[in-house]
């Protein structure tokens, strides 16, 4: 579906070829990424491992920020300050090291600098672990409560930021050069992210503290129809949104809003289409859970809790996204030989069936593999965390390293 582009990302222009035949290329690439993911999980997150940050919000916060920073590096800033020539000619291993190192460093600066030392200190204490500690909160919960808030900025941005290059082609700023274009799109989408956070997550913090902070935050306005005060209601569909934007961008090739030729109509259609897909996934996943586990019960805990069911839709959506990205990155978005419509159908069937398999498989192997507790609904567990970490490794491998060593950049014609 190659229409006239207003703006093209470097990722879209690069030519990479397989050095191994498919499906071996895909299998090898997948195993490589998965091994790196397991290594990182052991070092940073595993409750039996070294740093043990999966408590779970603290570790999940880092994972969420690594993801959005990678999106900003690759999609918003188009790898600025590195030139397209540098991106094309530098060895993938070197590129991977530098870009991943930058990713880690920026994540640290955002969390420790922007949130903990600045925003949490001068505006809302719950954005900062040290600030909550200073207010006398138990250290463990000071870290968990602030981590949830900080990660939600990243989660919302993971949905809103890529919509600009993906749906709007950076309209109306498509004509700018980097870094002006990057800073503009980043600033605008982060502003929208902040509004979304204040409306969808800030009320959660009204009722999280005792007594309710009724003057500082609005009462959770979703209570009447969501049957829960918890912001997990919004976390659920927002996570579905993160999955939707990337599935639309990869396996669904921006179909069908890409049929609209002009901006900003195309972007607007794309935005609402992605939102529609997100909400569709959300209600469907809630319904599926109710079918298997029985209708949720207001006030209940664990697997019967309405708020956990909403959260779990996000967990299911992210598993679905992981499968879609494996298909896209490692199996060259197979199939591509039929018409677009048939290609989309086959990919969709593969992704849906695989999601059920992954959901079943994850809970079967995660206690031994990842150090989690058996069971679907554990208060300290979020399958989103390990799945997104795996996705990040795939992005490092395919965005930063061109899929090396299984793939290689060839010179443009």
């Amino acid at each position: 579906m190659k229409n006239e582009h207003l703006d093209i990302l470097w990722l879209e222009t690069r030519n990479i070829t397989n050095l191994l035949k498919q499906p071996y290329r895909g299998i090898v690439g997948l195993l490589l990424s998965f091994s790196v993911f397991l290594g990182l999980w052991w070092i940073f997150m595993d409750p039996r491992g070294i740093l043990r940050w999966y408590t779970p919000q603290y570790g999940y916060m880092y994972i969420r920020w690594l993801l959005i920073v990678a999106i900003w590096q690759a999609y918003i800033f188009d790898f600025w300050p590195f030139s397209p020539k540098w991106m094309e000619t530098t060895h993938p291993a070197q590129k991977g090291l530098i870009l991943t190192g930058l990713n880690f460093a920026l994540t640290g600066i955002v969390i420790w600098g922007f949130f903990y030392a600045f925003m949490g200190k001068l505006s809302m204490p719950y954005l900062s672990w040290p600030e909550l500690q200073k207010l006398g909160m138990t250290d463990f919960f000071a870290r968990e409560y602030s981590s949830l808030a900080v990660l939600m900025f990243a989660a919302i941005a993971s949905w809103l930021s890529p919509i600009w290059p993906a749906a709007f082609e950076n309209y109306p700023w498509h004509g700018l050069q980097q870094p002006a274009k990057g800073f503009t799109v980043f600033a605008f989408t982060f502003l929208l992210t902040t509004y979304a956070f204040l409306v969808f997550m800030h009320p959660h913090y009204d009722v999280l503290f005792y007594p309710w902070q009724i003057y500082t935050a609005a009462f959770p306005w979703w209570y009447e129809f969501a049957h829960t005060l918890s912001g997990n209601f919004n976390v659920g569909w927002i996570m579905c949104g993160t999955a939707a934007v990337w599935m639309v961008e990869t396996i669904w090739e921006k179909y069908p809003f890409c049929l609209i030729k002009t901006q900003p109509l195309r972007g607007i259609a794309g935005f609402f289409w992605i939102l529609f897909v997100a909400l569709l996934l959300f209600v469907t996943f809630v319904f599926m859970q109710d079918l298997v586990w029985g209708d949720s019960i207001e006030g209940a805990k664990r697997i019967m809790a309405p708020d956990w069911r909403y959260l779990h839709t996000g967990e299911l959506a992210v598993m679905m996204l992981a499968v879609a990205l494996v298909l896209y990155f490692y199996f060259d978005n197979w199939p591509r030989k039929f018409s677009t419509e048939v290609n989309l159908l086959v990919r969709t069937v593969i992704v849906i069936v695989s999601t059920f398999v992954v959901h079943y498989g994850y809970y079967a192997v995660s206690p031994g593999l990842l150090g989690t507790q058996a069971g679907y609904s554990h208060p300290q567990q979020f399958p989103m965390a390990p799945v997104i970490l795996f996705i990040i490794v795939m992005l490092y491998h395919n965005w930063f390293m061109d899929g090396w060593p299984g793939k290689r950049i060839t010179k443009k014609q």
Binding site: L229, L280, V283, I297, P306, Q373
Partner: protein, 363 residues
């Protein structure tokens, strides 16, 4: 050529229609037609019989003495997913502790009179620190009851450190007491019962149990006496514990009384289960025990959902304690729920709910 094009068009249309049809059907089923498509199975109710009266005495509900020390131990170890047997719990130098040890324990004595006039004594849980538990057992006469075989059985609600690791204080007086544990106990839990020590976690049992051990699963209500049932829930719990069981009593002329250790499955889930599976479950007269809502004085909006939902169940005597949490208790009182006050004696910090040595009658 023409046929080729039209066939391809048909196939393309079919592909689009299939994807659109699947997702549209999914969306409509999940919203507009949800009521029709959500299949509900009402299982047959089980009649567990009846008891004449019930008395529940809190032997100890102070599982630990300092929240800060406990949470620091957990944070240092790597959080709430770390295996409890791998955590080096602080046992010295705790100002608020018992002899400097942060560990206390949870245990409850249940006195039930059956319809035939016979009386049964059941010990629910045996705490954490055997030295603390022995002190409380001696103060309440449990030691003598155990030695004289006046206690009929021991029920372990779940494998948690503060409910089960004081097993030595029990087996010291009676190694043959019949024991019921819920399905989900790990091998470590059985090993501890049979005399293994875990030096890292500072837990041991010098008096291996040699009596009958029964593992109760979640497939049905497990009747131990007429009118007395145990329900096991397959629930994942913090610090690598799985499965919890709790009591259901059907008290004559009063209704259902639920007695719990920690209720990790959640009191609402528990009451709903009883409502749909136990004859007479619509009338929940009383609830006693730990409800694990804000044990660390932390909070989550989900707990507000719980407090707000509790009114629906018409409970007449609400006697939570231990891991229910003081913040929860204050919110329950503010919501007008019938919370039973305690006496704040024998080491319990506040009288906002039942404490060590407090008794509650359901008769």
């Amino acid at each position: 050529m023409g046929n080729d094009v039209t066939r391809r068009s048909f196939i393309k249309g079919m592909a689009v229609g299939t994807v659109a049809g699947y997702f549209a059907s999914a969306g409509l089923s999940s919203t507009v037609f949800k009521d029709k498509m959500l299949v509900v199975n009402e299982p047959p109710k089980v009649d567990i019989g009846m008891v004449k009266s019930l008395k529940v005495k809190v032997i100890s509900e102070t599982s630990w003495f300092s929240n800060k020390v406990l949470l620091d131990d957990l944070k240092k170890a790597g959080g709430l997913l770390v295996n409890q047997y791998e955590i080096p719990w602080t046992s010295e130098g705790v100002k608020e502790g018992f002899q400097g040890n942060n560990a206390g324990g949870f245990s409850t004595l249940i006195d039930v009179e059956l319809m035939d006039g016979s009386k049964k004594k059941i010990l629910l849980d045996t705490g954490w620190n055997p030295v603390w538990m022995e002190k409380r057992y001696r103060e309440e006469g449990i030691d003598k009851m155990l030695a004289n075989n006046e206690i009929d059985c021991f029920v372990s609600s779940h494998e948690h450190f503060d409910h089960y690791w004081g097993i030595e204080a029990l087996t010291k007086y009676n190694t043959k007491l019949p024991i019921y544990v819920p399905k989900g106990f790990y091998q470590d839990g059985f090993d501890l019962l049979h005399g293994k020590a875990f030096p890292k976690a500072k837990v041991k049992n010098d008096y291996p149990h040699i009596g009958k051990l029964t593992v109760l699963d979640s497939s049905k209500p497990n009747m131990i006496y007429p009118g007395v049932a145990l329900l096991t829930f397959d629930v994942p719990i913090i610090t690598r514990v799985f499965g919890e069981q709790a009591f259901v009593f059907n008290v004559k002329d009063k209704g259902i009384v639920l007695v719990t250790g920690c209720c990790h499955m959640g009191i609402i889930t528990y009451m709903e289960y009883v409502k749909h599976h136990i004859a007479g479950g619509d009338k929940i007269y009383g609830v006693q025990g730990g409800l694990h809502i804000s044990p660390f004085e932390d909070w989550d909006p989900q707990y507000d959902d719980l407090v707000l939902a509790l009114h629906r169940y018409g409970i007449e005597k609400l006697g939570p304690n231990h891991c229910t949490g003081y913040v929860t208790a204050e919110k329950m009182l503010a919501a007008g729920l019938p919370l039973i006050k305690g006496t704040a004696k024998n080491g319990s910090k506040r009288d906002i709910y039942l404490g060590n040595g407090d008794e509650l009658k359901f008769a």
